[in-house]
């Protein structure tokens, strides 16, 4: 183990549960407890809980908070109601992605940004640098917050009864702040699994109490292994796979989150040009014939020439099919196009499909 590896406030719980631990984004994180497939199915069919305390949290406060968030964020938060949440990206001038994130609107002068653990230092530096000239105050609160995600069709019932937090009224992609155990706790109806669920942000002590209550009531602990298989099946991107500083949101087929009608934001010019002129490549879904499993980085070929590569691939736990997301050059990105995926010594036939391999089951 690296000497400077970090741990979350629930690390001792994971070790006691016998989790298989592995470094992820600088943290020693649980990959699985019981098995990836069992944990995956618990979330699809019942409920599971994830330790996502490694995620970063940044607060933006000040008279120009809304204007500043709109400057660094491709989605549009203008005039949104308090308690609304937005998904989107921060982009560089060239349209490459700094990170994808959730933006929580507390009120007109306060926003709460949830960013990827692997990007915290880079993001905070980027946000600070671009805040120059804006009347805002930026605080990195990543070390204060613990976070758990309770996900699955029974998530609402679990949060209400086991944790005693009344979340029935929280709508999809909104949040509420609760006064619990003498502190402010943020609970949102969000997640990264394609199922209904909640993400709960509080102090380390609060997060430990929440985790222990969920364990005592028999909720399945879920590791990062099934977090990836779950998000993948419903076509959600992972920074580092489908989004990078070299892949724009347009190329990632996520242009619905890019609001080009906003007056300005970093990367607007490049993204508007991509949208108008078209991109040369795009993230699509692939379905393979047979059982071979496509993995990140495997080449996609047409007539022996490489036309793209796999960004994420699995044997889908929910459907049993070998499927992948892949970055494919045009014109091979069209639905139904026949391609081949090179897996070690052989190539396997595959077809371009929609990059949603399992239907989302959100409660809106």
């Amino acid at each position: 183990m690296e000497e400077d590896i970090k741990i979350t406030c629930l690390h001792d719980r994971h070790v006691d549960l016998g989790a298989q631990m592995s470094p992820f984004a600088g943290y020693d994180m649980p990959i699985q407890y019981k098995g990836i497939a069992d944990e995956h199915n618990a979330v699809r069919n019942e409920v599971g809980v994830f330790d996502v305390s490694h995620m970063g949290e940044v607060r933006v406060k000040g008279a120009e908070a809304e204007k500043f968030v709109n400057h660094i964020f491709v989605n549009d938060v203008t005039g949104a109601p308090d308690g609304q949440i937005f998904y989107g990206m921060m982009c560089y001038e060239n349209g490459g992605v700094v990170d994808d994130l959730l933006v929580y609107k507390v009120n007109d002068s306060e926003f709460f940004l949830v960013i990827n653990a692997s990007n915290i230092d880079k993001d905070v530096a980027w946000i600070m640098r671009n805040a120059e000239g804006f009347d805002v105050e930026i605080t990195d609160e990543s070390l204060y917050y613990g976070e758990v995600a309770v996900q699955g069709p029974k998530a609402e019932e679990t949060v209400c009864t086991v944790l005693g937090i009344p979340v029935e009224d929280i709508k999809f992609y909104t949040f509420k702040t609760f006064d619990l155990d003498g502190e402010k706790v943020v609970v949102s109806r969000t997640g990264y699994t394609g199922e209904d669920g909640f993400e709960i942000y509080g102090s380390h002590d609060f997060t430990r109490r929440v985790w222990d209550k969920l364990m005592d009531s028999g909720v399945q602990p879920c590791g990062l292994g099934c977090r990836d298989t779950l998000r993948f099946e419903v076509g959600l991107p992972l920074y580092g796979d489908e989004l990078t500083d070299d892949i724009s949101p347009i190329e990632a087929s996520l242009s619905m989150f890019v609001k080009l009608d906003k007056p300005e934001f970093i990367g607007k010019e490049a993204l508007a040009r991509q949208k108008a002129e078209g991109v040369t490549r795009r993230i699509v879904g692939l379905e393979l014939e047979g059982n071979a499993i496509p993995r990140h980085g495997y080449p996609v070929e047409v007539d022996g020439t490489q036309v793209g590569e796999i960004t994420t691939g699995y044997r889908s736990i929910s459907t049993g099919k070998s499927v992948a997301m892949a970055m494919i050059n045009k014109p091979y990105d069209k639905l139904g196009t026949e391609v081949e995926v090179r897996i070690r010594r052989k190539t396997f036939p595959a077809k371009v499909v929609k990059k949603r391999f399992y239907d989302k089951n959100y409660k809106k």
């Binding site: 292994g225 990836d228 059982n291 499993i293 044997r315």
Partner: protein, 127 residues
């Protein structure tokens, strides 16, 4: 600690090899199946493929990752375990009785150079 049998030899890459005449039967160790977790796919070569010791002959794949299979001996692949195409989980259930390929060996000394049970046990304990 995972099970190790003393009726066969082992490669440092965790394949086991059992010899019967000039036929080497090859699988992966109990330690390896345990480390991989639930195996969902076994990629195998074709009968007739020629292997040199150290060649990648296939892969065992868990949900999360693919792990190369390395041929510990040289020779021609004479049989593959077709049962694994539909039931890869057999490797998890009984790694030492679930072979993956059989190879007609061309150099018996390669087998003798592999780890015996004691040496392999020590290797696993140090991982």
């Amino acid at each position: 600690m995972a099970n190790v049998l003393d009726d066969r030899r082992y490669a440092e890459s965790h394949e086991w090899v059992k010899i019967d005449g000039d036929i080497a039967t090859i699988g992966i160790s109990d330690y390896a199946q345990h480390a991989l977790g639930d195996i969902v796919y076994v990629d195998m070569p074709e009968v007739g493929d020629e292997m040199s010791a150290g060649d990648v002959f296939g892969a065992v794949e868990s949900v999360k990752a693919a792990s190369d299979l390395i041929c510990p001996v040289s020779g021609e692949v004479v049989e593959i375990n077709e049962e694994l195409e539909d039931a890869p989980e057999k490797v998890n259930a009984d790694a030492f009785n679930t072979w993956i390929i059989k190879v007609r060996i061309s150099d018996a000394s390669e087998y003798d150079a592999l780890l015996d049970a004691a040496a392999y046990t020590e290797l696993c304990e140090n991982e």
